[in-house]
C-alpha cells in the first residue's frame, strides 16, 4: 500500500485556493484582572454573553467564555490554565459559541469536557461538532415516553420503571451504591448493542477523584461495556469552568446520536449518567462567586435551578417524524446525612420525573442495591413497562407495602396470628428476591419469572438463605427443560393464558428442589 500524496495535495491546494484573503476584524480588550480561572476584561464593547474569547497569553492561546457583561468590563471564565495570562494581555472575540466534537469516533473513549482524549489514546478527529449549551427541543418535536429502558435491576425494572427519554434522579448519601446502580444500567445495555434498540451510554464524571473515574472505566471495560460508552471526565483537579460545562458537553455528544435517528441511522437511543450534579453545582457556585454574582441560599447563585433545569430538559423522546430517538438522563445527587430538603436535592427532585432513593441503613443491612422502594417513584415509566412485568409487579408492590407496615411488629417477637405471619414471611422473601449482585444484570423475562414465583407464594416456605439458590435454579430450569414455555412468554410478553402452565412448571421444579435439598 502506498499513499497517493498528489491526491491529498490537491485537496489541500483547493483549500488554500478557497481560503479567503479578507482581513480578520475582531473585537479586542485587555485583561485587567486574572486568577482562579476567572478574568475581567476591559474593552470587548460588542461581545455577547456566552461568546468564546481567546486570550493571547505567554503559553499560547487560552479559550474563555463570556459570562458577565458589566458597564465597562466583561467577566470571563477560562477553559485552560490562567498561569500564562497577565494583566494587559490582549483578548480577542471569536463570534463563536462553545462546541464539542461529536460522532462515533468518541465511542469507547475517555475525553475531557472539550472533547480532547485523556485516555492516552490517539487524538480524536470527528467530522462534526455540536454546540454545548443549546435550548432543549420544544413540545412539537417530542412524544410521550413509552419505551422501556431496562436497568437489569429487579427492584428498578419492576417498581420504578424508567422509560427512554425520562429523567430519573438517583439520590442517596455517600457510599450507598449510587454509581453502582447507574453502572449496572450501562452494563445491561450490552444485550441491546447492535440491535435496533441499541443504547449509547455516556458517563459524565464531575468533580470526582481521578482514581474513581479510572475505576469506573476499568469496570466498564471488564464488563465489555466500553464499546458503546463515552466517558466525559472533569475530575476534581479540573478548573471549575470545565466541571461546570462537563454535563452540557456530555449531553451534546449524546444529542448527536439521538438526532441521527432522523436520518434513519442507529443507534438513536442514549443514556447519560451525570455523576454527580451536586459537585457541578458547587463548581458553578465557585465561579459565580468569583464573578461576583450575588449569593443566595447556601451561597448558590440565583440561577442554580436554571443550571439544572435547562440541562435536564434536554432529555427527550423525539417524535416519530424526528426519528423517534431518545436521550435518557440519570442525574446523581449526593445528600448529606440523608437530608433531601437541602437546596440542590429539592431542586433536582422537582425537575426530574422521579427518583431512585438509596439508603445507608438498607445498605448496611445487606439489602443491595440499597433501594428504598417505598419512597422511590417513577412518574412516567409505567407506560413503558412490558405487559408481563406490569402483571406481576402490582402484587409485588402490595406485598412489600404490607410487609413494611408489619415489620415493626416482627421485631417485638410477640405471638402473631397466621395471616400476619404469612404476610411477614412473604415480605421477607420478596426483599430477599430483590437483592442482586453488582454488575449482574437480569434479563427482563428472567425478572418476570422470579417475581411471578415470589408473588405466587412458591418461596414462602423456603428458608431465607435458600431463596437466592432457588431463584438461580428456577431460572436455569426455564432455560433448559422448560425453555419452550419461556420462549412463549418472550413472544407474548404477557402471562395471560400462560399462568397455569407456569405455575405447574414451577411447582414441578420445587418438588425436585425440595427432594434434593431435603436429602442434603
Amino acid at each position: 500500500m502506498k499513499i497517493k500524496t498528489d491526491e491529498i495535495a490537491s485537496v489541500i491546494k483547493r483549500e488554500i485556493e478557497q481560503f479567503g484573503s479578507e482581513l480578520e476584524v475582531s473585537e479586542v480588550g485587555q485583561v485587567i484582572e486574572v486568577g482562579d480561572g476567572i478574568a475581567r476584561v476591559y474593552g470587548l464593547g460588542k461581545v455577547m454573553a456566552g461568546e468564546l474569547v481567546e486570550f493571547e497569553g505567554a503559553d499560547g492561546t487560552v479559550t474563555g467564555q463570556v459570562m458577565n457583561l458589566e458597564a465597562d468590563t466583561v467577566g470571563c471564565v477560562l477553559f485552560g490554565s490562567d498561569r500564562g495570562i497577565r494583566e494587559g494581555d490582549t483578548v480577542r472575540s471569536t463570534g463563536r459559541l462553545l462546541e464539542v466534537p461529536v460522532g462515533e469516533e468518541l465511542l469507547g473513549r475517555v475525553v475531557d469536557p472539550l472533547g480532547r482524549a485523556v485516555d492516552g489514546g490517539p487524538a480524536i478527529n470527528t467530522k462534526q461538532t455540536r454546540k454545548v449549551d443549546i435550548v432543549a427541543p420544544g413540545i412539537a418535536a417530542r412524544q410521550p415516553v413509552k419505551e422501556p429502558l431496562q436497568f437489569g435491576i429487579k427492584a428498578v425494572d419492576s417498581m420504578i420503571p424508567v422509560g427512554r427519554g425520562q429523567r430519573e434522579l438517583v439520590i442517596g448519601d455517600r457510599k450507598t451504591g449510587k454509581t453502582a446502580v447507574c453502572l449496572d444500567a450501562i452494563i445491561n445495555q450490552k444485550a441491546y448493542w447492535g440491535t435496533e434498540n441499541a443504547v449509547v451510554c455516556i458517563y459524565v464524571a464531575v468533580g470526582q477523584k481521578e482514581s474513581t473515574v479510572s475505576g469506573v472505566v476499568e469496570t466498564l471495560k471488564e464488563n465489555g461495556a466500553m464499546d458503546y460508552t463515552i466517558v466525559v471526565s472533569a475530575p476534581a483537579s479540573n478548573s471549575a469552568p470545565l466541571q461546570y460545562i462537563a454535563p452540557y458537553a456530555g449531553t451534546a455528544m449524546g444529542e448527536y446520536f439521538m438526532w441521527q435517528g432522523k436520518d434513519g441511522k442507529t443507534p438513536k437511543h442514549v443514556l447519560v449518567v451525570y455523576d454527580d450534579l451536586s459537585k457541578q453545582a458547587v463548581a458553578y457556585r465557585q465561579l459565580s462567586l468569583l464573578l461576583r454574582r450575588p449569593p443566595g441560599r447556601e451561597a448558590y447563585p440565583g440561577d442554580v435551578f436554571y443550571l439544572h433545569s435547562r440541562l435536564l430538559e434536554r432529555a427527550t423522546k423525539l417524535s416519530d417524524a424526528n426519528g423517534g430517538g431518545s436521550l435518557t438522563a440519570l442525574p446523581i445527587i449526593e445528600t448529606q446525612e440523608g437530608d433531601v430538603s437541602a437546596y440542590i436535592p429539592t431542586n433536582v427532585i422537582s425537575i426530574t420525573d422521579g427518583q431512585i432513593y438509596l439508603q445507608p441503613e438498607l445498605f448496611s443491612a445487606g439489602v443491595r442495591p440499597a433501594i428504598n422502594v417505598g419512597i422511590s417513584v417513577s412518574r412516567v415509566g409505567g407506560n413503558a413497562q412490558i405487559k408481563a412485568m406490569k402483571e406481576v409487579a402490582g402484587s409485588l408492590r402490595l406485598d412489600l407495602a404490607a410487609f413494611r407496615e408489619l415489620e415493626a411488629f416482627a421485631q417485638l417477637g410477640t405471638e402473631l396470628d397466621t395471616a400476619t405471619q404469612r404476610q411477614l414471611d412473604r415480605g421477607m422473601r420478596m426483599v430477599e428476591l430483590l437483592k442482586q449482585g453488582q454488575y449482574q444484570p437480569f434479563d427482563v423475562i428472567d425478572q418476570c419469572l422470579s417475581i411471578f414465583a415470589g408473588s405466587k407464594g412458591l418461596l414462602d416456605d423456603l428458608p431465607l438463605p435458600q431463596v437466592d439458590a432457588f431463584e438461580a435454579g428456577l431460572l436455569e430450569h426455564f432455560r433448559g427443560a422448560k425453555s419452550d414455555l419461556r420462549s412463549k412468554l418472550e413472544e407474548a410478553r404477557s402471562f395471560k393464558g400462560l399462568e397455569d402452565d407456569f405455575l405447574a412448571a414451577m411447582k414441578d421444579f420445587k418438588a425436585t428442589w425440595n427432594a434434593t435439598h431435603a436429602k442434603a
Partner: protein
C-alpha cells in the same frame, strides 16, 4: 496601571469635562486634558505622590495642603479644585485614574478615536499615516489619533487597532487561520476519503 474602568474617576472626569467645555469649549477641554496627563505622569514618576493619594493614613486636610502646594504653580484653577473636591470626599485614590477616563470622554465628544498601527519592522511613514487617517474618517467619520507600535511576532503585513476593534492583516494571523481551516475543514475530507488515497502497490 491606570485604567478607564474606575467608575468614580469616570463621574468626576465627566463633570470636569462639562465645566471645561462651558468655560472655553473644546480648546479649554484639550488644555485640561494636557494638564491631567502631566498630573498622571507625575504620579507615575514619583511613587511617593501616588502613595500620598492612596494612603488612608494621611489626614485629608494635610493632603489638601500638600496638593495645593504641588499643583499651585502649573495647574489651572479648574483642575486644582476638582482634585481638592475629590480629596474632600475621600476619593483622592481615584485621581490617578482621572486622566485616562477624561481622555476617553473627550475623544468621544470631539469625534476622535485612537488608532494604533502595528508593524513588524520599522515605524510607519507619513504617507501611510495619512492613508490610515483618511480611511478611518471614511469608515467611521472619526478623526484618528495615530500611535505606532512594533510587533515582530506578526511577521509581515499590518494591524490596526481602532478603539475596541482590531483589523488584522498580519501574516501571522493569516497563517493561523490557514492552519485552522486545513485542520478544521480539510482534515475530515482527507480522512473520510482515506481509502481512495491508498494505492495498491502489489
Amino acid at each position: 496601571m491606570s485604567t478607564a474602568t474606575d467608575p468614580v474617576a469616570k463621574v468626576y472626569a465627566d463633570s470636569l469635562l462639562q465645566l471645561a467645555q462651558q468655560a472655553g469649549g473644546l480648546e479649554k477641554a484639550g488644555a485640561v486634558a494636557d494638564e491631567l496627563a502631566a498630573l498622571d505622569a507625575a504620579i507615575q514618576a514619583e511613587p511617593a505622590f501616588g502613595e500620598l493619594l492612596r494612603s488612608p493614613m494621611v489626614d485629608r486636610d494635610r493632603r489638601a495642603e500638600a496638593l495645593r502646594r504641588v499643583l499651585a504653580d502649573w495647574a489651572s484653577d479648574l483642575v486644582l479644585r476638582t482634585v481638592l473636591v475629590m480629596n474632600r470626599r475621600g476619593r483622592a485614590a481615584s485621581v490617578a485614574n482621572l486622566s485616562v477616563s477624561y481622555r476617553d470622554l473627550l475623544d468621544e465628544v470631539a469625534g476622535r478615536v485612537s488608532v494604533t498601527v502595528f508593524t513588524p519592522g520599522e515605524s510607519i511613514d507619513s504617507a501611510l499615516e495619512t492613508l490610515v487617517r483618511d480611511r478611518v474618517k471614511q469608515a467611521f467619520g472619526l478623526d484618528a489619533t495615530i500611535e505606532s507600535q512594533q510587533d515582530e511576532a506578526m511577521i509581515g503585513g499590518l494591524k490596526l487597532r481602532i478603539g475596541d476593534r482590531l483589523v488584522d492583516g498580519s501574516v501571522a494571523t493569516r497563517l493561523r487561520r490557514l492552519r485552522q481551516s486545513l485542520l478544521g475543514e480539510g482534515n475530515p475530507e482527507v480522512r473520510s476519503r482515506f481509502t481512495e488515497y491508498l494505492e495498491d502497490t502489489n
